[in-house]
């Protein structure tokens, strides 16, 4: 408590001395418009010095900096705008090219499919023709073989018949008889075959 009172008294004393200092100016009533030509001249001189020196060493660089920055930003914006327009134009161009390429690819695929179809059909046709030819040839060969076999069979039959007849008749037929008999037999068999077919 004592300490608090002491603190307050110290503050009080300090304020009292401060107010004494405050009250120390005394004399005639002060004029709020106090001043004279000296103030005006000093103000003019100091202000002009400030305007000139600040203008040269501070405002000049700052103004240049602001103008450069404005130009820089304006250029950057213009460039960005140009780049954007260019990019859009390129995008449109690329889209167009892409569409074109896609159409071309589709056309190529279509053409390939068509070619493949044609080739397939050609191969089929060729294969069928080849097969037909083979079948035809096989038939012809079969016919020839059959004819040859028949002829051999006839010859063999004639020979066997002749041999049997010779044994039965007991006499040998002449070569001319043989040939006549064979020819007659062959003709008879051929006639029979023809009538069978």
């Amino acid at each position: 408590m004592m300490r608090m009172t002491k603190n307050w008294m110290m503050i009080g004393a300090l304020m009292a001395t401060a107010t004494q200092a405050f009250a120390s100016d005394s004399g005639e009533a002060p004029n709020p418009f106090a001043g004279d030509l000296g103030n005006a001249v000093w103000t003019l001189v100091i202000f002009l010095i400030v305007v000139v020196l600040l203008g040269k060493f501070l405002w000049g660089p700052i103004l240049n900096g602001l103008q450069s920055r404005e130009n820089f930003i304006a250029t950057a914006l213009r460039d960005a705008d140009d780049a954007s327009k260019k990019a859009q134009a390129q995008l449109a161009e690329y889209s167009q090219k892409l569409d074109q390429a896609r159409a071309e690819a589709t056309a190529i695929v279509e053409e390939g499919r068509r070619d493949a179809e044609v080739t397939k059909r050609a191969i089929h046709e060729e294969a069928r023709n080849e097969a037909d030819k083979m079948i035809e040839r096989a038939k012809r060969e079969i016919g020839i073989a059959r004819d040859s076999a028949v002829r051999e069979l006839c010859d063999l039959g004639a020979k066997l018949a002749t041999d049997a007849a010779s044994k039965i008749v007991g006499r040998e037929l002449s070569q001319a008889d043989h040939e006549r008999l064979i020819r007659e037999s062959i003709d008879e068999i051929s006639a029979q075959n023809a009538s069978r077919n």
Binding site: A16, P32, A34, W42, L54, G55, I62, G65
Partner: protein
């Protein structure tokens, strides 16, 4: 106690204190004396010194020397450049248009000079000196607000007038002279004096507005602190009881004064810009006239 109250006229702490004797130019009249140095003139010199030595150095600081870094402010330079950009883009360009960069250096100088003077006026040099030296009286009164002197504000406003007239004639030519008679030529004898008086009134308003605002805040503070003196004269308890709210109130008023210091510097700069704009852009005078009135209305409202 009466003597103490009489000596505690709050104006004493706000008005100019001449250092030494003024030079006598004439026996009487407004221009009879010439003050060689005073606390307010010294504060103006100090403001100029700070601006020239420190603000130039700080304002030129850039993040780097080349490329984009050279375009970007750094440290305290940001503070200065932000104000400069605001004044140029929001205040000067609408009023001055194409002439903005021609006058912007002057406009920036006006703002920073007045702002620095206003701020320095808030520093209690004399009270600090008393606490350091313990001397109630010093050979010279320290501290003070340069812009709380009507001769100072008048001179600054006179510079605005010179800028208006000189640049009006230089850039506007006959159009500037013609705008003194906006009506038919027959009305010239009536209109020209009115326009001239209007121009002088603008400058007078500029003078008084800054002076009165800076003076008023300081008188208010002086009156508040004067209460403590009266209270301590009554007794210690009363003194302490009064001192506490007074100190709190003074702190609050000081914050307000900080705001007023910036505001008044801005208003002076803003109106100077508008007036110069009205002089140099006489061909679209009407638009700016409107703006001018808005600006003045705002200033008067304060």
């Amino acid at each position: 106690m009466t003597a103490m109250l009489a000596s505690s006229n709050p104006l004493t702490h706000v008005v100019q204190h001449v250092w030494g004797e003024p030079i006598k130019l004439a026996d009487s009249g407004v221009f009879s004396t010439f003050t060689v140095m005073s606390n307010q003139i010294f504060m103006m010199v100090l403001a100029a010194f700070l601006l020239i030595v420190f603000v130039i150095r700080a304002g030129r600081r850039r993040r780097g020397n080349a490329g984009m870094d050279a375009l970007v402010a750094s440290g305290f330079g940001n503070f200065i450049e932000t104000i400069c950009v605001y004044l140029r883009d929001e205040v000067a360009k609408p009023a001055l248009g194409e002439h903005t960069d021609r006058f912007i250096k002057y406009i920036w100088s006006v703002f920073f000079f007045i702002f620095t003077c206003n701020l320095l006026g808030l520093l209690p040099f004399d009270a600090v000196a008393y606490f350091v030296t313990g001397m109630p009286e010093h050979p010279v009164h320290l501290g003070g607000t340069a812009t709380a002197n009507i001769w100072t504000t008048g001179t600054l406003a006179f510079c605005t007038l010179l800028m208006m007239v000189f640049n009006g004639l230089r850039l506007g030519g006959t159009a500037y002279l013609a705008h003194f008679c906006p009506g038919p030529l027959l009305m010239a004898p009536l209109l020209v004096p009115v326009e001239i008086i209007g121009t002088i009134a603008k400058i007078f308003a500029l003078t008084v507005r800054l002076f009165a605002n800076m003076m008023a805040g300081h008188i208010l503070l002086a009156v508040l602190i004067g209460f403590t003196m009266s209270a301590f004269a009554v007794g210690l308890t009363t003194g302490i009881g009064v001192t506490i709210p007074v100190v709190l109130g003074s702190v609050a008023i000081n914050f307000l004064e900080l705001f007023v210091a910036a505001l008044q510097a801005f208003i002076f700069t803003f109106l100077t810009t508008l007036f110069i704009g009205m002089s140099v852009n006489v061909h679209h005078h009407d638009d700016h006239h409107e703006e001018g009135h808005h600006g003045e209305a705002a200033a008067h409202a304060h």
